[in-house]
């Protein structure tokens, strides 16, 4: 199975998976500790509206996805600050409106929409070289932001009220955090698709929290777990395809592997808790 490593497309897929893991580990950690899972789900589904617009107007759908994710992130940031109590409803609206617009735009697009499934469920094995470069750039942006503003991000994620009293610009920090979630969504769309992004933003980080103390270690462990899931998913998809001639998309495999690991991790964690 290691012969796959010699194939350029497989190498690219591997690199794309690792780059996505960096984004999902760092941003996912904040998503989990700040309980933003549904916000991130809303953002990724809103991004599908941008994918559809890309098809309709003939530009790269990933560009549309990035634009829609960032815009809806900004809108949700404002909504979160203004009407916290009804946040749940607003997320549901962004979530479904994004999908509705995407489907509407695609149906208006003349002719057949190739590749649409790859945005819904990911298609990492056929990732174009340009995307690898984009994912790398987004990773750099995410890492630099979090390294520079770690104290502020942690303060706001932990206790917004106290951070505000201490003079931390809570609003801008929250907006930046949502923008980072939007960017992470973009790097993950190619790997698992808009529908499954929420899983990679939550499962590796939630697993990491069971074993790591401190946000930094949690991030590193979540990156490692994300890398393990995407890499093993890739090899599994490749193996199924070459050995058994089964064409199974990688995205769902990555998610199922992640859930399996999470179940094992949770039971080990619970067992350790009982042993004490």
């Amino acid at each position: 199975m290691l012969d796959a490593l010699a194939l350029p497309f497989f190498q690219r897929a591997l690199v794309a998976g690792l780059l996505a893991s960096v984004a999902c580990g760092i941003v996912g950690t904040f998503v989990v500790v700040k309980r933003m899972a549904s916000i991130s789900g809303g953002l990724s589904h809103a991004a599908f509206g941008g994918v559809g617009l890309g098809y309709l107007l003939g530009f790269d759908p990933m560009l549309g996805a990035a634009g829609f994710a960032l815009l809806s992130g900004a809108a949700m940031g404002i909504a979160y600050r203004r009407f916290r109590s009804s946040m749940d409803t607003l997320i549901a609206i962004a979530w479904s409106v994004g999908m509705a617009l995407g489907i509407l735009f695609v149906s208006l697009t003349p002719g057949y929409a190739p590749d649409l499934m790859s945005y819904l469920f990911g298609s990492i094995l056929f990732v174009p070289p340009l995307f690898v470069a984009i994912a790398a750039a987004l990773d750099v942006l995410i890492v630099v932001s979090v390294v520079l503003l770690f104290k502020e991000f942690r303060a706001v994620a932990f206790d917004e009220d106290f951070a505000q009293v201490m003079g931390v610009p809570v609003g801008p920090v929250l907006h930046l955090l949502l923008a980072l979630v939007a960017l992470a969504v973009v790097t993950l769309i190619r790997v698992v698709g808009v529908i499954l992004v929420i899983a990679l933003l939550t499962i590796p980080a939630a697993m990491a929290r069971q074993w790591a103390s401190g946000l930094q270690r949690m991030m590193l462990l979540a990156i490692a777990i994300g890398a393990l899931c995407t890499t093993s998913g890739l090899f599994l998809a490749y193996g199924l395809s070459t050995r058994f001639d089964l064409q199974i998309p990688t995205g769902p495999l990555v998610i199922l592997i992640a859930v399996l690991l999470y179940a094992v991790s949770s039971s080990l964690h619970a067992a350790r808790g009982r042993a004490r």
């Binding site: 500790v33 309980r35 520079l148 503003l149 104290k151 502020e152 942690r154 303060a155 994620a157 932990f158 206790d159 009220d161 106290f162 951070a163 505000q164 009293v165 201490m166 003079g167 931390v168 929290r209 790591a212 103390s213 401190g214 946000l215 270690r217 949690m218």
Partner: protein, 271 residues
């Protein structure tokens, strides 16, 4: 600045006479329910004020308004003559309940260091002085041995003391505390109030508590807060309660819909 009234922020007076906290005609309601109505009072620098009142009387809400976390519907709040969100780190507070997820992966030391954020600019690294101040604050409430522990592994009383240390680690000139001793052992409570008395020589302290005996022993003046006009009978109860507890006449400043007492009886209260 017009909403601050005739003398906006005391700017025309000498700097030493600007009140630490100046609350004027503050009203606030949630979904049509009045929580604070026309509340006015001011706290001079160096005062140690207690706020008492029935549950749901708006005490915690008033603290949040003073902190700038809630905007009043009407009226104004000035901290040393400036709005709370521009008070330049003059404020710190100790919340009643931990407002965060107790499973958040963060060590005690890092929680207390949040109190040092005010003096720091964005991107700036933590200095040795910040660390020293955080350790000193932890020593004051005897949690320095827990510095490396995750907050999820603390007892309720330990966590409350960590929150107090976080408030003490700040450079604030005004410290607001909301029922800070609610989950503390009685053994710790005594030394905690001694600590507050010591601190009150250097800073302004506002303490919300329902523990009237504690109030009478340590606080230098007291305010009684009940938000609503239809509670005339409860005002009477509160009045008797207060007078009985403090053993001295307490003047009620009664506003139309609420009553706020702020009567300095430094002479009467034991120091």
């Amino acid at each position: 600045m017009s909403e601050a009234g005739a003398d906006p922020g005391g700017l025309r007076r000498g700097a030493e006479s600007v009140p630490a906290i100046d609350v004027r005609n503050v009203s606030l309601s949630f979904r049509g329910m009045a929580v604070l109505e026309d509340v006015s009072f001011s706290v001079e620098p160096g005062e140690f004020v207690g706020i008492i009142g029935p549950n749901g009387g708006g005490k915690s809400v008033l603290l949040k308004v003073i902190l700038g976390l809630l905007k009043p519907d009407r009226g104004s709040v000035l901290i040393f003559g400036r709005p709370p969100d521009h008070s330049g780190g003059a404020l710190a507070y100790v919340p009643q309940y931990p407002p965060f997820d107790p499973r958040f992966p963060i060590r005690v030391m890092d929680v207390v260091m949040l109190g040092r954020l005010g003096g720091q600019r964005l991107f700036q690294r933590v200095s040795d002085e910040d660390r020293a101040r955080a350790l000193e604050a932890m020593r004051e409430v005897q949690v320095e041995h827990l510095a490396e522990r995750e907050i999820g592994k603390l007892s309720g009383g330990q966590l409350q003391r960590v929150l107090i240390a976080r408030g003490l680690a700040t450079d604030a000139r005004v410290l607001l505390l909301d029922e800070p001793t609610a989950s503390l052992d009685s053994a710790v409570v005594g030394s905690f109030y001694e600590l507050l008395e010591r601190l009150s020589k250097q800073m302004t302290i506002v303490l919300v508590s329902h523990d009237l005996s504690v109030m009478s022993k340590h606080v230098r003046s007291v305010a009684c807060l009940n938000r609503r006009l239809h509670y005339h009978h409860s005002r009477e109860i509160t009045r008797e309660m207060v007078e009985e507890t403090y053993g001295c006449p307490v003047d009620f400043v009664i506003h139309r819909h609420s009553h706020v007492v702020l009567e300095d009886h430094t002479q009467g209260a034991p120091r």
